[in-house]
């Protein structure tokens, strides 16, 4: 159970450690001596098949800070199971020590201090170096991209994903699946897909009118004498969680029966190894693995979890490779006669100061950035606080966005969607326009201003909470909990929909929300067509410029029980 006290203690501990350790290049130099590229890439090639998994890059082609979640609650059967384990519990579960590079990469504790010690992570030029090393061992390794690749940066927004497509093409994936890709609109997706040298898979994407498959469900590969079926599964709830008017005529869904049919089809066609390249989210994949027999490996995505070991469900292995280019998974398998006889797995952390960038890919990334460089690098202000988003409830990035919405739009209450994308910034970092776009870039950015009754706000919070905390993962629809500014509430995640959210309080007066009264609510990223307002990045930029230096106090207005 997480109490308000735990929240407070955690934030206090992190602050204290940051204050004590300070910054210093000596620490990073020490880290570089302790960590070497050879060590990170070390792998005894095994079996006859190699899979390489990367997912949820969110257009982050250069190294980033990315703080893993502090609060990531599992409900129902997933309670207490990975990936719903954070902080010390995570370290204990996987036998890792605090303060190590692994602890920095995989958990949230002492993030700012460890970030200064170990440096940024990711960068597709570093990923390219890792790919080259793996391909030197195993030239026919399969590179599989789990989607949420083309979206999430200023350059991706301005080029409708073309910058990422160009760089990814140079990395030569063998297949991909999708989610945010569709927010560029169906016409744009079709245009890019037609240009790709590899398949864009989605067994669960259907033509809504005729109820027929709309994309290739799988692709067969022959590697190391084994036939490998890679089945793709796009994010099941695209038309609900994202604006469906942007991709009219398409229907998604988990479609468990369809998955069982496709697995049977590829087995009948002689597949020795069945791999599901999935954007379901970890808990949905865990259930799917238990319900649909015959899948050997699920490469999970969407929920941004990074796990140093596979999770086994029956005979199915679930792999979680993180997000934002922080990690690449290498999975070597011994596949003989339609069976997996053994495997070797490594979640490779992409420490940007340790792994040298591939010069060709680095030049390509720079070329994509060049037309936008001035705009990207313009400093809007500075942050005194660690800015991060990831976690089930309010993070500091969204607290800043909510503060901006309340101030700039003169609202009582602000709502910011519970996205999982958006890298972090350390205390003292300048905030560039690139950083702001990394946290807000999207094709439906309008910052709306509207009135809602207390009753309506309660319905909204209950609806979103059920999409996250429904005990059956097939009924979990999307992101983390909507982040709220100007209002506090209490949530018991163990209760059913309609009864989780209580004690909604207007912070500026300390009064309980009146169900019958109307409040001015500002928010962004509405899925409704025709939403009006300035783009969210303009609202937040104005706020940051006005503040000069932004400071986000620890948020104590959400109280969580029942976990």
């Amino acid at each position: 159970m997480i109490s308000r006290r735990d929240f407070l203690q955690a934030s206090v501990a992190a602050t204290a450690l940051y204050g004590a350790s300070g910054a210093g290049n000596w620490a990073r130099i020490a880290a570089q001596q302790a960590l070497t590229q050879d060590q990170l890439l070390q792998f005894d090639t095994f079996g006859n098949v190699t899979l390489i998994h990367i997912t949820d890059i969110h257009a982050q082609m250069r190294p980033v800070w990315f703080r893993e979640p502090e609060v990531n609650l599992g409900v129902g059967a997933a309670n207490g199971l990975p990936p719903h384990v954070t902080g010390h519990d995570f370290l204990n579960l996987f036998n890792l020590r605090p303060g190590t590079p692994e602890a920095y990469a995989l958990t949230y504790q002492d993030f700012s201090a460890l970030a200064r010690t170990y440096g940024r992570m990711g960068g597709l030029d570093r990923v390219a170096t890792v790919l080259a090393a793996i391909r030197a061992d195993r030239p026919d390794a399969l590179l599989l991209d789990g989607g949420d690749t083309w979206h999430g940066s200023l350059t991706a927004h301005r080029t409708a994903g073309q910058d990422v497509v160009n760089v990814m093409n140079a990395l030569a994936p063998d297949a991909m699946t999708s989610h945010w890709e569709f927010t560029f609109g169906l016409a744009r997706v079709s245009e890019i897909v037609d240009s790709l040298a590899f398949p864009f898979l989605g067994a669960n994407i259907f033509d809504a009118e005729w109820d027929e498959p709309a994309y290739d469900p799988f692709k067969m590969f022959e590697r190391g004498g084994a036939k490998i079926a890679v089945i793709g599964q796009a994010f099941p709830y695209l038309p609900i969680a994202n604006p469906k008017w942007m991709f009219p005529g398409l229907s998604f869904g988990v479609r468990e029966d369809r998955m069982a049919e496709v697995v049977a089809e590829v087995r009948a066609a002689g597949a020795d190894l069945v791999v599901l390249l999935s954007h379901n989210g970890f808990d949905v994949d865990r259930k799917l693995a238990a319900q649909v027999p015959g899948i050997d490996v699920i490469l999970t995505g969407h929920t941004h979890d990074a796990l140093p070991e596979p999770v086994q469900v029956g005979k199915t292995m679930l792999i979680a490779s993180g997000s934002n280019g922080k990690f690449v998974t290498r999975l070597d398998l011994d596949v003989q006669g339609g069976q997996v006889r053994g495997f070797r797995h490594k979640l490779i952390p992409i420490f940007a100061d340790v792994i040298s960038p591939d010069p060709e890919i680095a030049a390509l990334i720079e070329a994509e950035r060049a037309p936008f460089r001035d705009e990207l690098e313009e400093v809007l202000g500075t942050t005194d606080s660690l800015l991060y988003r990831r976690g089930n409830f309010n993070g500091t990035w969204d607290d800043l966005i909510c503060n901006a919405l309340i101030d700039e739009r003169e609202a009582d209450i602000a709502l910011s969607p519970g996205f999982r994308w958006g890298p972090s910034l350390l205390p003292g970092d300048p905030i560039t326009r690139e950083d702001l776009f990394n946290a807000t870039s999207m094709s439906y950015p309008q910052a709306y201003r509207t009135e809602m009754t207390g009753k309506m706000l309660h319905t909204v919070l209950e609806d979103v909470a059920d999409n996250l905390f429904h005990p059956d993962p097939y009924y979990q629809q999307g992101g983390d909990m909507v982040r709220v500014g100007g209002m506090g509430y209490r949530i018991d995640v163990s209760r059913p929909q309609g009864r989780r959210i209580t004690d909604m309080t207007l912070l500026k007066t300390g009064e309980a929300l009146d169900p019958a009264k109307s409040y001015v609510v500002a928010g962004w990223a509405s899925v409704n067509e025709g939403t009006e307002g300035p783009p969210i990045w303009e609202v937040v930029e104005n706020h940051i410029r006005r503040q000069g230096t932004v400071r986000v106090d620890p948020n104590k207005s959400v109280q969580v029980t029942g976990a």
Binding site: I240, D257, G418, D463, Y475
Partner: protein, 138 residues
């Protein structure tokens, strides 16, 4: 932020949500089922209902029923103002006792299918379809 107990109780009451169906709707549902089954016992199994877990559009939710050996299948939307959606009848020459349609759902609710089998027995199944107000996909 501080709460007095009185405030907490007041907000709790104000936001209490009735989860159970309103009584008239439940009665209508039971009456409709009783009319179809003529009061006979209803078993389980032998009928499959395929519906999305979460509706992409509550105004047109695709559902399919498959009940080999059925002569009729009744489809009910338990939470709609009028729960009786339709009844499919299958003649003796029907190659399969399967039908699909699209229905409108007023909100999150159980969709129920009841089959009358060739031997006069009844069997039922149900599936919860969530209708959300949409939101924020991570």
């Amino acid at each position: 932020m501080t709460f007095t107990r009185r405030q907490a109780i007041a907000t709790g009451t104000g936001f209490a949500v009735a989860l159970a169906l309103p009584l008239p709707a439940r009665a209508a549902l039971e009456d409709t089922i009783a009319e179809f089954t003529a009061g006979a016992a209803v078993g389980e199994g032998g009928i499959t209902l395929t519906a999305p877990e979460i509706a992409e559009n509550g105004n047109t939710v695709p559902v399919e029923v498959d009940a080999p050996g059925a002569v009729a299948v009744m489809l009910l939307a338990s939470g709609n103002p009028s729960p009786d959606v339709c009844t499919f009848s299958f003649g003796s020459l029907a190659g399969a006792q399967r039908a699909s349609t699209r229905i409108r759902l007023a909100g999150t609710q159980d969709v129920i299918a009841i089959a009358k089998m060739g031997d006069g027995s009844f069997t039922r199944t149900q599936s919860t379809v969530k209708v959300t107000i949409g939101g924020c996909g991570g």
